[in-house]
Subunit: 405 residues, 2 copies
């Protein structure tokens, strides 16, 4: 007998037929004598429907009311999932985030989990019930409903797995697991049986859409081993866990491409203390997340700052930079939206040399120009022409022999 926490995303519980299938899947695992806590998201599309209604009523609804509204989506799914289980003869009980004792801070629409009181869930597990918990939501000290923001249901599952000391945590989604590259772009991409938290984090921040960074960070912090797998088949997925020695034998774990970035060049600024700071302060104040940053100093104390931001934020970024240009020497701003970021990730890099050289050579052989380079301990990212991005992914994937086991 094991204690298992599962999480099913919005497409897995998209309609009553799919909820029925999820119920049968749960029943099969339950019938093997396991204890189950199941976290579900809102049915696919429901959250957007609710948001559209809110937007049609007010341009700037309060975050508290948005949370009250959005929490409805998961509450529907938990009840329907519990009812579907009852329909196949499994005793089940549903919990809202508040009932599951998920206490958060006060930041509506992107709350952080502070503590979980798992006692009520423990009681129902002991009584032999499958416990269905609403993902994405919690309650703050004042009793207001909060939501956890993007990727919130994954976070709920991982936090609950830690709180109930689960033996297993399974994140069911619409992909089979974590691949060495996007299989739609790189046909011989391979599903990874295992990956370290740090590699998963770098992939998440590099454009891999499997999971949000915060859930992986939370899992790493509390040592929750979890598996990413599909609810549409019974294939084994990818296990995400602490790095172990043998993982380092593989130098590069995977390749990720992010086409949603834009490159901004602030040129002709004075190379004096504080120039870069005032540029990035202005962007931070406008809530723009800057990813890669490179600074070149040319002749005569004139510098160029190059960095990437999410493509949706380029207009906001230009506006934010205008007032500071004079102070940094009257610089000029140029935006290049037609770029992509290619990243190779692997904990083995820490102890292997030549990874960068291999990547640059492979891209050069394919005549793909590199516009920008940044490196971390376990990742190398380059900015290239967006039109060449898919080809670059295939080239890098082959150069590191990622198709081989």
């Amino acid at each position: 007998m094991a204690r298992i926490v599962q999480k099913y995303g919005g497409t897995s519980v998209g309609d009553v037929e799919r909820i029925k299938k999820v119920a049968l899947r749960i029943k099969a695992i339950r019938d093997q004598g396991n204890e189950l806590v199941v976290v579900v998201s809102a049915r696919a599309g429901v959250t957007n429907e609710l948001l559209a209604r809110a937007k049609s009523l007010a341009a700037n609804p309060s975050d508290r009311e948005l949370d009250m509204l959005l929490a409805v989506g998961e509450q529907e799914t938990i009840a329907l999932t519990a009812i579907a289980l009852q329909g196949v003869g499994v005793d089940a009980v549903s919990y809202t985030g508040a009932q599951a004792g998920i206490f958060t801070d006060k930041v509506h629409t992107k709350a952080k989990i502070k503590t979980i009181n798992a006692q009520p869930i423990e009681k129902d597990l002991k009584a032999g019930r499958v416990v269905i918990v609403a993902g994405f939501q919690g309650i703050n000290e004042e009793g207001h409903i909060t939501t956890l923001g993007r990727g919130g249901s994954d976070l709920t599952a991982i936090a609950l797995a830690a709180a109930v000391q689960a033996d297993k945590c399974e994140i069911y989604t619409d992909v089979d697991g974590v691949y060495t590259a996007d299989p739609r772009v790189v046909p011989d991409a391979r599903k990874l049986p295992e990956i370290s938290y740090d590699e998963m984090l770098e992939l998440a921040s590099s454009g891999s859409k499997v999971m949000q960074s915060r859930s992986v960070e939370f899992a790493e912090k509390y040592g929750v081993v979890f598996e990413v797998r599909s609810s549409f088949n019974y294939n084994p997925g990818t296990i995400v866990k602490q790095e172990v020695a043998y993982m380092e034998k593989v130098v590069v774990r995977g390749v990720a491409v992010d086409k949603d970035q834009a490159k901004i060049i602030v040129s002709n600024i004075l190379d004096k203390p504080g120039s870069a700071a005032s540029v990035f302060r202005a962007l931070a104040d406008a809530n723009i997340i800057v990813d890669m940053i490179v600074q070149n100093v040319g002749r005569n104390g004139i510098a160029n700052l190059t960095f990437t931001v999410p493509q949706v934020d380029t207009g906001k970024a230009q506006k934010a930079l205008e007032p500071v240009l004079d102070a940094v020497g009257g610089g000029h701003v140029a935006v290049h939206e037609h770029i992509a970021k290619l990243s190779v990730v692997g904990v083995g890099m820490k102890t292997h040399s030549g990874v960068a050289a291999t990547l640059f050579q492979a891209l050069a052989d394919a005549n793909i120009n590199i516009e920008l380079i940044t490196t971390s301990e376990i990742k190398i990212s380059v900015v290239i022409d967006e039109d060449r991005a898919d080809e670059a992914a295939r080239v890098a994937h082959a150069a590191f022999k990622l198709n081989e086991l």
Copy 2:
């Protein structure tokens, strides 16, 4: 400045356009300096949609999970209504039943309100906010969500009006108020400016669909004066209050017709102690609500029992009666579904004689046969042929001159 509790039903908040109109209505009253607590129902149709999904997943879902599911409907509306108010510049905050401190007993799907802790609402009212509360729902001692059953949102409004000591309670619905008869049947029916709780109760149990009895009973018990009015216009409605002396000057307040009843005759039973008891015990055990009851004793100690039950329950009633027929002397059961109940109601009857005679004479003049009669202090009900029911309503309405002020 007054403190006002309002309740808007499902059609009044049926879609975002209607919610916008409700918000403007609330804003106008708010702008006059009033304090407002607003109870809303689920959008029309939502509850049935949710129930249909549940039914497609399990034949007998648990009542606890049905409550969890149905509570979603009102939670959506409170958030949207608060957001709509914010959209027109009114500070508003929404409360689920639990957050509004509405504590109920443990009976899921038809819970009774035990207490209300109005402190959080008082705090928000003091802070100048309009408070939007989910109707129909509460929370029990164990923290489970409960729902109040049919007419639950009216009950929420009246209970809150008592708890916050409101100056006014307005029940907005899709009818203009309480009429002397159904205006679709009796063209010269007149809207009543006032009606007593007891008259309202008798009308509710006589087929008038304006409100459920339990809300009126609750209002009477706690002395909550309320007004039934339409959210689609600004006409004054009907005020429901404690009976006052001048009300008795009007002998008959209104006429109601109920076509959803059936008549059951259990004939040839022994006229001995316990016969009627065993018949009605069997019906009660099957959860069938019996309305009118008449017993005739014929010759030779053989009796007939005649009573009315909701038409939907006739099959269930026949089944429930089968096992007891032998014990009462082998009686025979006959069902007549093609009947209607006509009632005339008025507190003035208590002190006026001749009401029954006037009614019977009017029906006789129209050649309408009376099959069954029951009377209470302020009501006379007769069972007649369903085909003659509308005509009977017009005849009775005219006989008591209800079209005249």
